[in-house]
Amino acid sequence: MGKSVLVIEDEPNIIEAISFILSRDGWHVASHSNGIDAVEAIHARKPDLVILDVMLPGRSGYDILRDLRADHQTDSLPVLMLTARGQSSDRTLAEEVGASRFMTKPFSNSEVLAAVNAMIVPT
């Protein structure tokens, strides 16, 4: 049984591409496309790793991550944050709220794969 990843992203074709490359690498991939109930989706699916977009409909990825870090069940869950903004202030904010890693759009598939595998080795 491979490790599981939950991709929280509102761009369906990004979800599809990330799902394809991670599935091919042995990951079980699920997706969620809005921010409002993202925390509930994480608790329901209990993924080994989360890929989390910052700008989501309904709620920002930063707020979602704050909730995760405040909950003992998810306070150490590996989270890779994706954002379309690459300013140093965004990176600082992502680190402050507890992102395990931070990646700026546009990124390449190999970068995502390398980042995810560096965070957890799939089984």
Binding site: I14, A17, R85, P106, F107
Partner: protein, 442 residues
């Protein structure tokens, strides 16, 4: 043609105007002719007894020889030198340089001012890119679409053995995304062009409103005495290119409605008659006298036109207001007390202190940190804004009225505040958020 703004040049002009020889003036002033020659060519600093002696010999007031644009030019050049990091200019030879090369000195000063204006524009642009929600959303959409195309294309290129149904799906995704990208890019460009086509190019709505108020001296006679019901609308609609964006028009309308309400309760002419002569008024006392709240009184004082103030021997007032977050919501700067257009103000301002002591009027005489500290009397108060709702905490806003005290001496015991950290020379400041772009005071 020689400049006459420098002390040495003025002495020379005055001497030649009197038909006096250099040696004669030197003799009368008790200095050597060669020393006077250096002074007249602005190669030696002059002041004190020598200036008095020369002025007496030339039969003019010493100030007539030493004051004027020279001080402003030298101050600007000192500022330019201070902003240069690392500092390489020979400050000790500034006056000699200004005297020998007045044209170059003027050019450096004007370039320094131009750089300052451009830096403000860059700050505004950065501010817009970071905080304009429409622009941020468009950029996010473009970058997300590019990411989707990039990811799909990479899969197709890197994996020739991809199953046909997946291949078809990624081809379709790329086609859809590229159409979306074209549309998103077009929208982004049009938003940027829309911004650039405005007369105020990079201005935020609040800046448009401030320019609109500033152009009218912050005084609207149309709203002072029995205004027409449509007076506010007429002002906004008649602003033309003065108020471009819909947001600026809305903000201006709100500000003018507040002004009209203030004026209805206390017309400017009535207030002017009640002002003390020469001495700085206390807005809290005036507010109590007219039955107003102090914030409204501060707005009324700041709206008084120069001629009414002059009739009472009063100097113009500056005013700044902020909401409970500390964001500036109204700015009427003074030439000697500029207010930051972008970014945050000095946290040491009494304006912000008042937020932690609501309803307590604060009066402070402060020094504004600069080459020579200016002295100002400030009155600040934080008070509830808008209607009071039972069982709900009020929203607070704060006002700070500023009046210059040019004849006061800056004393160490007066709190020393700045405008904003980036241009503040105050060393080791407990309120400093970021380093200054200019040299801190030693």
């Amino acid at each position: 043609m020689p400049r006459t703004t420098l002390t040495g040049s003025r002495i020379r002009d005055r001497r030649m105007g009197l038909g006096m020889r250099q040696a004669e003036l030197a003799r009368r002033a008790g200095i050597s002719a060669s020393y006077l020659n250096l002074i007249e060519h602005n190669r030696r600093r002059i002041g004190g007894k020598v200036l008095l002696a020369i002025a007496e010999a030339l039969e003019v007031e010493p100030a007539a020889l030493s004051e004027g644009a020279e001080a402003a030019l030298l101050a600007t050049l000192r500022q330019a030198a201070a902003d240069q990091v690392p500092a390489t200019a020979e400050l000790d030879r500034l006056e000699e340089f200004t005297g020998r090369f007045p044209g170059w000195a003027d050019m450096i000063a004007s370039q320094h001012q131009r750089i300052g204006a451009l830096e403000e524009a860059v700050t505004a642009l950065t501010d817009r890119l970071a905080h304009d929600p429409h622009l941020a959303a468009s950029m996010h959409e473009v970058l997300s679409t590019v990411t989707a195309i990039h990811a799909s294309a990479e899969i197709l290129v890197d994996d020739p053995g991809i199953p046909p149904e997946w291949r078809a799906r990624f081809h379709r995704n790329i086609a859809e995304d590229s159409a979306r990208l074209a549309e998103g890019a077009r929208r982004l460009v049009s938003e940027l062009e829309e911004g650039a086509s405005k007369e105020t190019v990079l201005a935020a709505p609040q800046d448009e409103v401030e320019s609109f108020f500033s152009a009218r001296g912050y005084y609207f006679p149309e709203l002072e005495s029995a205004p027409e019901a449509s007076a506010v609308s007429d002002l906004v609609d008649g602003a033309g290119s003065g108020l471009v964006s819909a947001a600026a028009k809305l903000l201006a309308r709100r500000a003018l409605e507040v002004y009209a309400q203030d004026a209805r309760i206390l017309p400017a002419a009535t207030l002017a008659e009640a002002l003390p002569e020469e001495e700085s008024p206390d807005p809290s006392q005036l507010a109590a006298r007219f039955g107003l709240d102090p914030g409204r009184m501060m707005r009324r004082l700041a709206a008084l036109p120069a001629d009414l103030l002059a009739s009472r021997g009063q100097r113009p007032f500056g005013l700044v207001a902020c909401d409970a977050s500390g964001a500036l919501t109204f700015r009427k700067p003074l030439s000697a007390f500029p207010l930051p257009r972008f970014g945050a103000a000095c946290p040491l301002w009494p304006l912000f202190q008042s937020l932690s002591r609501p309803m307590m009027p604060l009066r402070q005489v402060i020094r504004l940190a600069g080459r020579t500290d200016g002295v100002f009397v400030t009155h600040a108060i934080a008070q509830p804004a808008g209607p009071q709702v039972p069982n709900r905490d009020p929203m607070f806003e704060a006002h700070m009225l500023i009046q210059p005290m040019p004849s006061a001496t800056a004393l160490k015991e007066m709190p020393r505040v700045g405008v904003t950290c980036r241009i503040c020379p105050k060393p080791a400041c407990r309120g400093r958020r970021e380093p200054a772009i200019m040299a801190e005071d030693a």
